[in-house]
Structure formats: C-alpha cells, structure tokens
C-alpha cells in the first residue's frame, strides 16, 4: 500500500495541466498509480482525488468501472486472453483450458508464488489473428499452445524480484 511518489504526483500534475478541465486526467492518472504499485491503492485514490479536486469516492467509482484497473495486488505476469467469438471460433477455449492446467489456477486467480494471473477478457480487437492474448505491452497473435508453454517456462525462470509487467501506456504525457 502506497501513496503516490513525488515523481508520480508530478506526472499526474503534468497530465492534468494539459486538459481544459483537470478531471479529464483521471483515467491517465489511474494508469500512473497502477504503474507505480501494480494496482490502484486506496492511498493513491486519495492522492489523485486531491490533485484533481474531486472526491475519493468519485475516483474509486471511476476506477471500478473500467476493467484495466486492479483494486488488489495481482500476479507479476498478467495474461489477458480474449474469449470473444472470433477468438473462441479459433481456439480460445483451448488456450484457457491450457492455462488452467499449466498454472493450476482459474481465470482471475493468482498463482501461489504470486507470479501469474490470467484473465479472460472481451474482444481485444485483433480478431484476424485469433486466438489473441495481451501480455505486458504487446499482443501475442495467432497464439499457439506451444508458444504459450515456452513463454510461461521462460517467465518462471526469471528472478523473483523482476518488476511487474503491466501495460505501459505511452502518450500520457504527449505534448498538447
């Protein structure tokens, strides 16, 4: 649990300054908080509310509405597997069953060692290269079970203190 660091606060301030109304910076600010701690902490919600001049309840209401923000610690490596029709027609159910077996958890659960979580998400907009998974900052398209198997083995062998791989959103601080 952590408040926003000084550099995170500065980032949020900078983002807020580029909108005609500061509140518009809320979604980007929540990404800043999540990048810092791996999820959006209650302290960060308080801080963001203070910076943007709205109530913490409003910030929490927004954070809970969108699926890309987590309100609890999640695995260091989060796989978002698309389960919507085009992917389902091309093997998404097999990908999900494979992950359940390989990781020993169901969708939305984190492995005991804290390393992995997988989620089944709605359409990722890459239906032409189904099945698809979002991991870190890239799409894994035309995903095969072999490829997934190797990826997980490779991630398992990494040091335990490697930072979390959350999607890093660029463009947050692009000039206006």
């Amino acid at each position: 649990m952590a408040s926003l660091t000084e550099s995170s606060r500065e980032r949020v301030e900078r983002i807020a300054a580029r909108y005609p109304e500061r509140r518009s910076a809320l979604l980007p600010a929540l990404y800043v908080a999540q990048e810092q701690d791996g999820y959006v902490t209650d302290e960060a919600i308080e801080d963001i509310a203070g910076i943007l001049g709205i109530s913490p309840a409003e910030v929490k209401g927004v954070a809970s509405f969108y699926t890309m923000y987590y309100n609890r610690p999640v695995g260091r490596y989060v796989f978002q597997v698309c389960g919507t029709l085009s992917c389902a027609l091309c093997g998404a159910e097999e990908v999900i069953r494979f992950l359940e077996r390989k990781l020993g958890v169901r969708a939305g659960q984190t492995t005991l060692d804290g390393k992995f979580m997988f989620e089944v998400v709605e359409c990722l907009g890459a239906c032409g290269s189904a099945p698809v998974m979002l991991f870190g900052d890239r799409y894994y398209e035309n995903l095969t079970l072999d490829q997934l198997d190797q990826l997980i083995d490779e991630l398992r062998s990494r040091p335990a203190d490697e930072p979390q791989r959350a999607p890093q959103l660029t463009g947050l601080e692009a000039r206006d």
């Binding site: 580029r18 909108y19 005609p20 109304e21 509140r23 518009s24 910076a25 809320l26 979604l27 980007p28 929540l30 990404y31 943007l52 709205i54 209401g61 927004v62 509405f65 969108y66 699926t67 890309m68 923000y69 978002q80 389960g83 919507t84 029709l85 085009s86 389902a88 027609l89 091309c90 093997g91 159910e93 097999e94 990908v95 998400v121 709605e122 359409c123 990722l124 907009g125 890459a126 239906c127 032409g128 290269s129 189904a130 979002l134 890239r138 035309n142 995903l143 095969t144 079970l145 072999d146 490829q147 999607p167 890093q168 959103l169 660029t170 463009g171 947050l172 692009a174 000039r175 206006d176």
Partner: protein, 434 residues
C-alpha cells in the same frame, strides 16, 4: 491497389514516418483545405456521400454541418479510436500502419468545424497504436503540421492522445465524452447532441478513425472521384475485417457493393478445408446473423439491410458448419452482459437474464419454454434501452432463433449442446495451426 483509398499507401515502406509520408504527398490536403472556407470543405465531404465508418453510417458532412456558429465556446473534434466491436480490427491497422493519414484527416476536420483542439480516444489495450500515434504526433509538431500557426497558415491545431481503460460502452459517442471528462463511461441523454453540447458542454464532433482517414483523399481528389466506387447511397470503399473460419482472415478494403461471397472467397480465401459456410455476421457482433443461404448479397448499407442485417462496423465474423449457434449466441451475450454499463434496467437485467438462459440451454438443456422466453426478453429490450448497446445486444439471439430454432430445441431435447464434443479436436488443431 486500384480499389483502395485508406489502405492505398500501406505497401510503401516507412510510410509510418513523416518524411516518407510527406514524400508521398502527405499533408497536401491540409494546405488545400485551409485555402477553402469551412463551408466549402463541408460541402465537398457532403457531396462525396461519405458515411461514418464506425457503425452507425451517418453522413459525415451532414454531421459536421450541425456544429453551430458563433457560440463563443471552443469547438472540439474527437477521434473515436475505441475500436471494441467484436469482429472489428481495422482502425488498429490504420493507426499502426499509416498514422499521419489520420492526423491529416483530423486537421482538415478541425478546420471544417472550427476546432483548434482535438483528442484521439484510443482503447487502453491498444498499446501498439498508442505508441505509434505518440511518435507521429511528436513528428507532426516538430515539423510544424500541428501546433500554433501550422505551416504559416495562421491556423492553430492541437491533437492529444487519450487512453481508455477497457469499456466497450465508451465507443458510444456520448459515453466516450463522459470517459474523456474523467467519469464512468455512461451514455448521455440526447438531445442535446454532441455537435451542440458535447465535450465540456461545447460543440463537439466525434468521428471514427476510418472516416477521418478518408477525408484527405476526398479533399485532394474531389467528391466525384470518391463516388467512382460504391453505390449511389453507399459511395466509396470500406475496410471489412474478416475473421473466424476462413483461410485468410484479415482486413480488406473493397468498394462498397462488392458481393459478400467475392470478399469471402477471393479475398479471405474461403471457408477452411473440409467445411461449408454456415453463417456470417456481416457488421460486427451488434448486427443480426445471416445464414449461408442469405449471403448471396452485395456489401453496401442498403443491400445488407434488405437481407435483414446491417453493415455496422463491417467486422465480418464467418462461421462454418462446426459452429453451434446457441454456443455462439451465448458467447456474444456474455460480451454484452459484461459490457453493459448498468445505467438502464432493460439492458442491465436483460443481458444478464439472456445469458443465464443461454448458458442453461448450452450446458444442461434448460426448458422448452425458455426459447420463447428469450424472444419475450428481447422484445422487452428492443428499442427500450437507453443506448444502442442494449438494443443491439439481442441481435444474435433474435436472428439465432429465427434461423436456427431447431438447434435451440435440440439443446432442450439433448439436455445440453448436441455438438459439445465435436469442437474439441478442431479447436486443438486450430490453436496449434495458428
């Protein structure tokens, strides 16, 4: 290719960078448009007959003309890049391959509607397009195509990126504006329409990525040039995103009015080996499913409507004879149940109820009367939801029962999906073949 407009430069190596883009005539339409009055630009786009490519198909020039003059408020342009309609993946390619084309279209649109500030609302999962657009914006500012007094014309134009965070509803334009203002993405009551009172209660135009990408070409070449493709009521070309059980899934830009079977067989490679066509969803998950026997149609707004479906976002999901239509409907209703924003009761409760029934039918067979109950629920949602999300969430259920009622009944008789085991081996195969 001769029949491409927005994809016509995709084959040029390095077109993503501003130097190559400029060498190939990039940003020409900005100079031309700024020598025209806003009304002349709007008239040209109106004459072209360009219709919104996001799904609703509203005439773009007419939309622009709704922006009131002399309100004393700033005007805004928002590019809707929240592409989330299942089966649709065209805007991602447009943004990743040729980002400056979009920026160019946006500058022209800003001039037409009197805006000096624009936003691109990109779905948060599109990390790749966000990165590419960020780079393109940097280049455009650096080279004086964005910012104050662009190219010495006296016109100011600023474009910012704004990431969404995983909510299909934010593709609905008024929910998108709420989200951009830092709120939960809930649709707004209309009127007032965004053109009168949108972002920050100011006149705002929201256009889809593909729509805006067409604009530079229309300004450069004229409305009549654009009308050489398509039909009288559906001029131009359209990117069809083809996915599902075809050999060559992908994005294909073809003239509107191209036969569906031509697209499916000549472009997308036809149905995979050993199977036959069963059904096509022609315009993204929100439109009714067409059975194979109704697929002998042309792909334009009016022909698809006559066949009982809609062009929508042109996200074409193709299903072969191995597909269970109850399973498919359950999958799509699951999507709407998850994405319903909860604002209105018919959508929030209706999508949940439909899902529970479809899940029962698929897993344990449900009850015979469930099929008519499903139709009753859809009847109580159709036209009674606050926004199109709920109204269109019923498409796969209504068309599914209309064309494949016997499959729904077979689920009841069989105490669950009769095709249950059929898919496993094939799914394995598809995933492995990847």
């Amino acid at each position: 290719m001769a029949n491409e407009i927005v994809f016509s430069q995709n084959h040029i190596p390095g077109i993503r960078g501003i130097d190559v883009y400029l060498e190939n005539g990039g940003y020409r339409s900005v100079k031309k448009a700024l020598e025209m009055t806003p009304d002349e630009v709007i008239a040209e786009v109106k004459d072209s007959g360009l219709r919104g490519r996001g799904g609703a198909g509203f005439p773009t020039g007419m939309k622009w003309s709704f922006v009131p003059r002399d309100t004393g408020k700033p005007h805004y342009l928002v590019c809707n890049a929240d592409e989330s309609e299942p089966g649709t993946f065209k805007d991602r390619e447009l943004m990743e391959v040729n980002p400056h084309q979009l920026l160019e279209g946006m500058i022209v649109a800003c001039h037409a509607i009197g805006a000096h500030r624009a936003f691109i609302y990109v779905r948060g999962e599109y990390v790749g397009p966000l990165r590419v657009l960020n780079q393109a914006l940097e280049e455009a500012y650096e080279r004086g195509w964005l910012g104050e007094n662009i190219q010495g014309t006296g016109f100011d134009c600023h474009i910012s990126l704004h990431p969404g965070a995983g909510a299909y509803i934010c593709g609905e334009e008024s929910a998108l504006l709420d989200s951009l203002e830092g709120r939960r993405g809930l649709p707004r009551l209309k009127p007032p329409f965004p053109a009168v009172s949108g972002l920050y209660r100011s006149p705002t135009i929201i256009n889809n990525v593909e729509t805006l990408c067409n604009v530079p070409h229309i300004i450069n070449n004229g409305a009549q040039w654009f009308r050489q493709w398509g039909t009288e009521k559906s001029p131009g070309t359209k990117i069809f995103s083809v996915s599902g059980h075809v050999r060559k899934p992908g994005n294909y830009e073809v003239p509107l009015g191209t036969p569906l079977m031509t697209l499916l067989n000549d472009y997308a490679g036809g149905i995979r080996e050993g199977h036959t066509l069963k059904a096509v969803i022609p315009g993204g998950s929100s439109v009714p499913i067409l059975p194979a026997e109704k697929c002998d149609i042309n792909l334009d707004y009016e022909s698809i409507q006559a066949a009982g479906s809609m062009l929508g976002s042109a996200g074409m999901i193709v299903m072969d004879d191995s597909t269970c239509m109850v399973w498919a409907a359950r999958n799509l209703v699951h999507f709407y149940r998850h994405e319903s924003c909860g604002k209105c009761t018919p959508c929030r409760e209706g999508t949940d109820w439909m899902y529970k029934i479809l899940n029962e039918l698929e897993e344990t067979g449900g009850r015979k009367e469930d099929i008519d109950l499903l139709l009753d629920i859809t009847d109580n949602m159709d036209g009674k939801c606050f926004c199109p999300l709920g109204d269109t969430s019923i498409a796969s259920v209504v068309s599914g029962i209309e064309h494949w009622r016997h499959e729904f009944e077979a689920h009841v008789e069989n105490r669950g999906c009769p095709m249950r085991r059929r898919g496993e081996a094939e799914l394995e195969g598809a995933a492995a073949a990847g």
